[in-house]
Chain length 250, copies 2
């Protein structure tokens, strides 16, 4: 009845909508709701997305598909070399919704100041100009890290962590954060909805664990695919699965 | 800077406001914010509680202190005997805010259908007429349990789990739930605020991880101490610590 298939064994016909659907225990795996509920929810979300259409007009309902970001990291070329060996490259495992980005086959083990470890933390590609580990507050308690809420790349004053790969380990002096709640949005969608880049909005999800999230950052950019990124604490508090639609209130 | 003392070593002068302040990694330990922040927050919350006073009037701001419930269980006498031996008794470890209830020294290990275990799950006393394990959705993913949101004791159709104690193990056929968000409230407070038993309200917490929680159940009863109980997913999504004040919106 309520017993589930193990995560990591999603049906192949389930298209991942969010970023890291099957990566971690703490993010909703394909089997986190019963098959019937899942199917209904999947179809409903798809229909909503189709209704919303590719072209957003001022009349379009302000619905944004959710992508729950499980813990993951971004690495510089140098950090990747330290962890996976000189000249190592990332190998795409699954494309993300935002064009050009992918979850890599490669993962790291993250160790915090309590010397406790979280294994199998996915590396997202391509490599970046900074290294950053995105965790939840739940992860932070386990590791012993007080994680500030930051936009990507805004790393001054953030705590560090130790990363371990198959070829070596690396002490990051900073870069461990909780990612700020944010919505990727195209310029066209922002214009249609009268929203500005860097604006904060509130978003709502109904249900028995319904929430309104405040302080959701709008990030407008050319070619951005409409999607709201939340961490697993937000996702689990609200009972969200990838592809669920949240409504922008402001 | 952001490195923390290990949970379980709170300063002795911190009075626990919520239920299970130090019980688990996933609940905010005393050191989850920096000492200065913590002190300011602690004093602020205390002042707010004093301002609110013991007598709630219609004019009192509808502020409710939060208690984050870490994973825990309630057991029948029979279940306790199976786990801790015939005639075993619970030994109070820390009083809860609600009079007569306590966190016990005794804990259990909870094992789910993936055969993964969560250790040190606190037993709350006294024993009850039913056995029940209260977990978060995060815990459920780890264990492989799809946990319905239920009021305490409403256990028909809920999944089970295996409990392990020092004297034996026990298979619960049902009883694994996520506790519904709820507020304990005295009849006097409910009358002053024009709220009814079993009513649902919305509550708000501001901040960079601000939320409005919908579907918070009001439970009115004689002698109930005003307090809102949330699970660790809700608490971590909103950056709450025990004793933070949430405002009732409806």
């Amino acid at each position: 009845m309520a017993n589930l298939p193990p995560p990591g064994t999603p049906p192949d016909d389930m298209v991942p909508v969010g970023d890291l659907k099957y990566a971690e225990d703490s993010v909703c795996p394909a089997g986190c709701v019963t098959p019937d509920e899942e199917l209904v929810r999947f179809v409903t979300n798809r229909v909503l997305q189709e209704l919303q259409g590719r072209t957003i007009t001022p009349e379009s309902p302000k619905l944004v598909p959710v992508g729950i970001s499980a813990r993951h990291c971004h690495l510089t070329e140098e950090a990747l070399a330290a962890l996976y060996g000189p000249g190592a490259k990332l190998h795409p495992y699954r494309d993300l919704r935002q064009a050009g980005f992918y979850a890599a086959h490669e993962t790291v083990t993250v160790v915090g100041p309590r010397m406790r470890a979280i294994e199998n933390v996915r590396i997202l590609g391509p490599t970046r100009k900074y290294s950053q580990v995105e965790l939840s507050r739940t992860d932070g308690f386990m590791l012993g890290l007080s994680l500030p809420v930051r936009d990507s790349g805004d790393l001054d004053g953030t705590p560090g962590a130790t990363l371990v790969g198959p070829a070596g380990s690396l002490r990051l002096e900073k870069g461990a954060i909780r990612a700020i709640r944010h919505i990727h949005m195209s310029s066209e969608a922002a214009e249609a909805w009268s929203l500005r880049d860097r604006q904060f909005v509130r978003t709502e999800f109904e249900g028995e664990k319904g929430v309104i999230l405040t302080n959701v950052l709008v990030r407008v950019g050319k070619g951005q695919i409409l999607e709201m990124h939340l961490d697993t604490d937000d996702g689990n508090a609200a009972d969200l699965v990838n592809g669920d639609m949240m409504r922008i209130l402001d």
